[in-house]
Symmetry: C2
Subunit: 508 residues, 2 copies
């Protein structure tokens, strides 16, 4: 089972340094993972049965008074302690409040999740609350989401100072970045066997507990509109968390014996380049690679002719060989943005981008990781001092359903707005895979496919379906959309928060 975790990590971001050397083995792991899942029997939650996220043991966790054992009043003091006076090297004129700290999600085992919270400049009370989750499973919401995607700062090449990200999402929302699940980034458990139990159910349970407790610490947000966003493997996390919230809300509304009185004001979910369905992901991945000129005619013909992506059967030898060959043929490019330049390291350790892409630094991970590992920076965030990088490797990530389609359908049926979006240069969880999964939702179209604009350019395309479901693309974006197209990503977020499709302005 050791292959599973490495395969999962692929779903977020492979390091851009020495990309070429690693891509092959990592991709091979994903294949083995998907293939091995297909060959396993007795998978408890094979198709992402949403009832397991609202009818089972989860309801127990919030029925205890508070998971961390603190009385509510104590949280006010915790909030003050979490306030970040300033991050080392931050620019002048920071006009919003920042917080960082831990929320215990299991007092008995000593399991606590680290968060970084940035309020909106100006008048934060008028803005909604947005929880951001990176994927993996096991990748850093602070190191990636906050510092390289949609947070307020970017780390400079000096590894020590920050500049402002003009298209940060806290322009329009108060954003919580959560290091999740325990074991990832600064988050931890004092009971190391917790890591062996980690999987989709425990992640959803812990994240729900985090939210309930965090809102005690920030009570002014209790009634605020709440949105959950994420990308990649968060295509599992976000719908599962949403289902958990709706189930708890329903239970608590029913005023039964377990009533904790907690109602989370969940208003919608927003997930980019999500992993939704293992089989559709696999099919769409190779289909995308062929259509974008990355893999050969011969290999694609083998895959199209000999892989059965429509049922639960185990891949045959011929299919398996063709998929392996496809991975070999695509190992030289960055499969998370097939047109991105690469970050080149010289023998003396210096590094540079192979070419320039406006607004994007392909070597940006290097200063980010250096900065976040500075002791002064970790202290400023109120984090435990830790040496970390990339993504946490879970030896066995439990109960990862093959398909999130039933869960999405359940959420839509329960009236929750669901928006999915695709950066169209990502081949890992590509637009083709997402489209195949959306087709399985079998929703009727209420507003047909059309372009949307950002400035004088097409920002992408969008379509609205019955039940508040929407699918949008972000043109020219890879897997981590706000990194590659920060302005377009922010426009799309604003539209989602308003509940109206992004704008279209006919060019002259």
């Amino acid at each position: 089972m050791g292959t599973i975790t490495v395969g999962f990590h692929l779903l977020f971001l492979i390091p851009t340094i020495a990309l070429h050397a690693h891509a092959s083995s990592q991709e091979a792991h994903l294949t083995k993972f998907l293939s091995s899942k297909r060959s396993r029997s007795n998978i408890s939650n094979k198709i992402g049965d949403p009832t397991s996220f609202h009818g089972g043991s989860f309801l127990g966790i919030a029925s205890s008074p508070r998971i961390d054992g603190y009385p509510s009043s104590y949280h006010i003091a915790l909030k003050a302690a979490d306030k970040i006076s300033a991050l080392p090297g931050q620019p002048e004129g920071v006009d919003f409040d920042q917080y960082g700290g831990y929320v215990t999600v299991d007092g008995h085992n000593g399991r606590a999740l680290f968060y970084y919270f940035v309020e909106s400049p100006g008048n934060p009370v008028t803005k909604p609350l947005l929880l951001w989750l990176n994927g993996g499973p096991g990748c850093l919401s602070l190191g990636f989401g906050a510092m390289r995607e949609l947070g307020p700062f970017r780390v400079n090449r000096d590894n020590q100072t920050l500049t402002r990200n003009n298209h940060a999402w806290n322009n329009v929302a108060n954003v919580v970045f959560l290091e999740s699940p325990a074991g990832v980034g600064f988050s931890y458990s004092n009971t190391s066997s917790d890591y062996d139990k980690m999987g989709d159910p425990l992640t959803a349970q812990d994240t729900y507990a985090f939210l309930v407790n965090w809102l005690d610490r920030f009570p002014e947000y209790k009634a605020r509109a709440l949105y959950i966003a994420g990308e990649s493997y968060a295509g599992h996390y976000v719908p599962q968390l949403a289902a958990t919230i709706l189930a708890h809300n329903n239970n608590n509304n029913n005023n039964n014996n377990n009533n904790t009185g907690v109602i989370l004001n969940l208003k919608g979910i927003f997930v980019g380049n999500p992993l939704l369905d293992d089989a559709k992901e696999e099919r769409g991945h190779h289909e995308y690679l062929w259509n974008h000129g990355v893999i050969s005619d011969e290999v694609w013909a083998e895959i199209a002719g000999h892989c059965n992506f429509s049922d639960d059967s185990v891949y045959g030898d011929r299919c398996y060989k063709a998929i392996t060959r496809s991975q070999y043929e695509s190992e030289d490019i960055d499969i998370y943005n097939i047109y991105a330049p690469t970050c080149i390291t010289d023998n003396n350790g210096s590094y540079y981008s192979s070419s320039q892409l406006p607004g994007y630094d392909t070597c940006g991970e290097v200063p980010t990781m250096a900065y976040l590992n500075l002791p002064a920076v970790q202290r400023a965030f109120h984090a435990r001092e830790t040496k970390w990088s990339d993504c946490k490797i879970f030896v066995d990530f439990k109960d990862s359903p093959d398909s999130m389609v039933p869960t999405l359908k359940w959420l839509i049926d329960h009236g929750l707005p669901v928006w999915l979006f695709s950066g169209d240069l990502d081949s890992r969880c590509p637009i083709t895979s997402t489209r195949h999964a959306i087709r399985d939702l079998n929703l009727s179209v209420t507003e047909p496919w059309r372009p949307w604009t950002a400035g004088h350019e097409i920002g992408g395309y969008v379509q609205q379906y019955k039940g508040g479901f929407a699918f949008a693309t972000v043109r020219g974006a890879g897997h981590t959309i706000p990194t590659f197209q920060p302005e377009r990503a922010l426009i799309l977020l604003q539209s989602f928060l308003k509940g109206i499709l992004p704008p279209y302005e006919k060019a002259k």
Copy 2:
């Protein structure tokens, strides 16, 4: 039949200015053209039967002593007259010779083709001769090929001065840019009814006549290795011209009564984003648009389910409607590079690019056309003073076969190296269409698909087939490959001229 020509023009380049306003009607014309071709019967050369390019009346044209009626000796004087002393505004230090002028291809009707010839700097006698043909049919090899793609100069924003193109193809070859057929650019006929007869056969005949006569003017190139290159609709021109040359060579070798003694030393053809097969083009175009997130699931499902691209049947109503809808959905982007910025014109006539793409000026057509319309520039080129822009519209372009696959197969069977290449961001004659056509060639693979590199990046992918056939992609390039990726295009050309696949260097 008036729709045909406009449809054809689409195959080259629509003006980037006010792109949005025009795309719809132009694309609709292409559909009508393809659809109307399907509905016509008794098409003489439906599948590009290559025998019509080597067994028929063409042999007659070169059996007359010389088409233009001049004795060979006179051409020496013509060459001196064609020498361009300097182009207005050219930079200091131009270290190669340039020529411009006319070659008569039909003395009786007064039909003459304009050429611009740039020798290679350094030692031109060691370099091959390369003829470049733009597509359309009817688009300018001077205005596009020479000045915006692979020629030695680019026009500056002042509309008056030039800068050197570091990746010009005359770095490695002596390049002839031909304005073809008569009616296009500076080329003309004194018999205006010639334009009504224009089509694939007459274009091939005239281009052959041009070459024979041009070599009398530049006799030092008579024995030189000759290559023919082009793009887009030159997917028709180049193979047809090659077949014509091989047929004449064979006839003249046979020393029969018609022997003119002319043997052209043709060594290979090199065609980028070619139109090869109407049905495959149509299928690949929509398939590409769906996989790149441009058109909707619903429209692609209709096209995939109800269009029969595998035979000669007329499109049904349902297919026709879906194709029309696909054009509507894709009208807002530049279908010749789906990720390119656009050139925006303000009401006061000023213009600017919607965003920057390194190395590419999306507004570059404006200064180019202004410069080439300056009387002093036209005089320097030894051209007749003409006001022109974009592409010539032929009311009825004759005998355009549905498929070039038989012609390509004939050339390969006759031992001619054939290389096709695809800029992978072009949706007009996209990689998918070219791949479907190549599959029809049914060639065995001799060197499997692999990446090739340019600097520290993947320049594209390449595969070699039996019989000297190769297919390569150019990563990150639109329809006019040398415009978007000048360095990669030059590397690929060098490889073609050497007859070895482009290099691959494993990144660190």
